[in-house]
């Protein structure tokens, strides 16, 4: 007997899989699910929060739309940002979620979390960005936890530092080592393009690399205000991609196997659960 309500299905308690103990009482999906559906209650909670310090790095939760409160469910899109220390991961994620270039960043210790709701074709999607520490020692045991169930990976290098580009290979291995599925979209970002006279990594070189790893390449600057749209488009393009896979995701949730995988199938369906 097939069920008509994927939403209900998605809220069913844990159904096996590698996620460890069941998450009874949780309103979200199994940890293994690739799409997370939240009911509106928490949007109320978040909407009620002050947005006092958009300039503060630590509270960059921004609400772009009041329609949040009325949405039945908000899908969450989880992105992890990786790359060498000092390439500008924190600045890029803050430019996206906070809308500006932070005048003082500090070394990221462990993992910082930022999020921003974005609206795509009338649907609000919450983009969660996990900004990781670049120093090698944090990669292995510390950041591991945050690779789980990511919907996309953003690799960042510094266009003025060849070493940060060369290290991408180890970052890719790192990512694969954490068993991020090959179907999870990855993009490559060359940051600090505003430093035009210090560029060490030529565009065609980066492009070749991106192509060979099936990634989109963005060359941009977290600092240059003229580039801010460009920074947004990195995350938005990923969000759109998720959006395009929407029907698939819901359908997969219906399958009740608790192990949804993003694939490249793009079947258009209209089984919106709302």
């Amino acid at each position: 007997m097939s069920k008509d309500s994927p939403e209900e299905e998605s809220r069913a308690p844990g159904s096996g899989g590698g996620g460890g103990a069941g998450k009874g009482g949780s309103r979200r999906n199994r940890a293994d699910d690739n799409v997370t559906i939240l009911t509106s209650s928490m949007d109320f909670y978040r909407a009620g929060r002050s947005r006092a310090s958009s300039s503060s790095l630590t509270s960059s939760v921004e609400l772009s739309s009041s329609s949040l409160e009325t949405s039945i469910q908000t899908r969450i899109f989880k992105i992890i940002v990786i790359g060498d220390s000092n390439v500008g991961k924190t600045c890029l994620t803050f430019r996206f979620t906070g809308g500006s270039f932070p005048d003082k960043t500090e070394a990221t210790i462990g993992v910082d979390f930022r999020e921003k709701p974005v609206e795509i074709e009338g649907e609000t999607i919450k983009v969660q960005v996990w900004d990781t520490a670049g120093q090698e020692r944090f990669r292995k045991s510390m950041v591991e936890h945050y690779y789980r169930n990511v919907h996309a990976v953003v690799f960042v290098y510094d266009v003025t530092k060849m070493a940060s580009f060369r290290n991408l290979q180890t970052w890719i291995e790192e990512c694969n080592g954490h068993r991020v599925s090959a179907s999870v979209p990855r993009v490559l970002v060359g940051n600090k393009c505003d430093l035009v006279d210090q560029i060490q990594v030529p565009s065609n070189m980066a492009l070749k690399f991106a192509d060979s790893h099936n990634m989109l390449l963005f060359e941009t600057s977290a600092k240059d205000p003229k580039e801010s749209q460009n920074v947004d488009s990195i995350f938005m393009s990923l969000a759109c991609r998720l959006k395009a896979q929407k029907s698939l995701l819901y359908r997969d949730v219906e399958r009740e196997d608790g192990r949804v995988r993003l694939t490249q199938e793009t079947e258009t369906k209209t089984n919106c659960p709302c």
Binding site: K23, S26, L38, E106, A107, G110, F113, M142, H145
Partner: protein
């Protein structure tokens, strides 16, 4: 439900909001006297110093910190390491990372400090960190180590920071400085068992959310220096941690989470949401209360008890294993007046060391008081002052900025 009892706090120091009542003023004076007496006892009354560092108000002033911190770590202030030479920056594998982190650490310096002065301190910071790493090839730099170093530097100056940081790195911070973060993770693994002892419901909630413990990582490895924006809170905690077992920061982490128990339970039971909530430390936590609670938890559920648990058994903590010997070494220290004589007898040139040892400390204090004239004065002083004036300075029990000014 919290099982642990509240420890009575001594009535020392100003009240929480900074308004000093007559009574607490008196308590403060009393505490100052107690600390001074402990310092001149022979051997130094280290237990009293430890206690006063943990009780209300901590060590009260930077001037006292400059005297007590070295005692807490068994450092002879008359025999401090020399200023690092230029070669300290050559060929060190961590050089680039240290520079990147220190250059980005502007937030850690007092707001009013002129950029030029901050830049001088930042360069000192790079040298200090590299010097300690060079002395200890077994230690590895981690992002966050610079937050510890800067806290020390702002209080005690360059040379004493090298000595303190060297000692801390070999004991309290040792686990964080392995080649990998596995030992650090091991220390973080104490957090959930502590929570479980006190509040099973909260513990289970956090387990369900699969939040992990990384939200407390920067708290632990920087002794909260990375996450607190008010330097006086950072100092208060440093007083406490310098006087405590290396695992105390994780007990404090537990009390912070317990303190926010309601908020946590009201949050969506989701990794991202709980991580986000917990990783943002509210800026005005009741630190005096939390410190007392952390001590209570430590007494009630000591590391040895928690370590019986499977998850904590497998690994040996170098911080914990070296702490015993370290602790013993602090018990037989001579007071500064004796140390000074002994050290001078040992090395006829030590008077200069002593002077330099003390001066940068005064600098830190002056900077925070924001008096430029005095800063310039001290800068000049360290270059020109002779041994005669040094002797005057050392005999004054409470020598400080005022005294230094009088010297001109």
């Amino acid at each position: 439900m919290r099982k642990h009892k509240r420890k009575k706090q001594g009535g020392f120091g100003g009240s929480e909001n900074g308004c000093v009542t007559r009574e607490s003023d008196c308590g403060r004076k009393h505490k100052l006297t107690v600390i001074h007496q402990a310092l001149i006892r022979d051997p130094v009354d280290i237990e009293t110093l430890r206690r006063t560092a943990a009780t209300k108000g901590g060590l009260l002033t930077d001037e006292l910190r400059r005297k007590v911190w070295p005692k807490l770590l068994n450092i002879n202030v008359y025999d401090l390491p020399h200023k690092p030479g230029r070669d300290v920056r050559e060929n060190h594998k961590d050089y680039n990372q240290v520079v990147m982190d220190v250059r980005r650490s502007m937030k850690r310096f007092p707001k009013g400090m002129p950029a030029a002065e901050r830049a001088v301190l930042q360069e000192q910071l790079i040298d200090i960190i590299l010097e300690v790493l060079k002395r200890n090839p077994q230690l590895h730099y981690y992002q966050g180590y610079h937050d510890v170093a800067v806290t020390l530097l702002l209080v005690v100056g360059e040379r004493m920071t090298i000595a303190l940081l060297d000692k801390l790195s070999n004991v309290h911070l040792r686990d964080f400085m392995d080649a990998t973060m596995d030992s650090t993770k091991h220390i973080l693994n104490y957090l959930m068992p502590i929570l479980e002892q006190v509040d099973v419901e909260l513990h289970d909630f956090m387990n369900r959310a699969e939040v992990g413990t990384i939200f407390a990582l920067s708290w632990l490895i920087t002794w909260y220096g990375h996450v607190l924006s008010d330097f006086k809170h950072t100092l208060r905690l440093y007083d406490f941690f310098l006087a405590s077992h290396p695992l105390m920061p994780i007990y404090l982490a537990a009390t912070i989470v317990l303190h926010r128990e309601k908020e946590v339970k009201q949050t969506e039971c989701d990794m991202a949401m709980v991580h986000h909530l917990l990783s943002q430390i509210p800026q005005n936590l009741p630190y005096e209360l939390l410190i007392g609670q952390a001590q209570d938890l430590f007494e009630q559920y000591p590391p040895s008890l928690l370590a019986k648990r499977a998850a904590l058994q497998s690994r040996k903590s170098l911080s914990i294993s070296s702490f015993q010997a370290f602790h013993l070494s602090t018990l037989h220290q001579r007071p500064d007046s004796v140390l000074q004589r002994l050290t001078r007898a040992q090395d006829s040139t030590t008077s200069r060391h002593g002077l330099e040892a003390s001066l940068p400390a005064a600098q830190g204090q002056l900077w925070r008081e924001g008096n430029r004239m005095m800063k310039m004065a001290v800068w000049g002083l360290s270059a020109t002052l002779g041994a005669a004036v040094f002797a005057v300075a050392q005999t004054a029990m409470d020598w400080g900025p005022d005294l230094i000014l009088q010297l001109f």
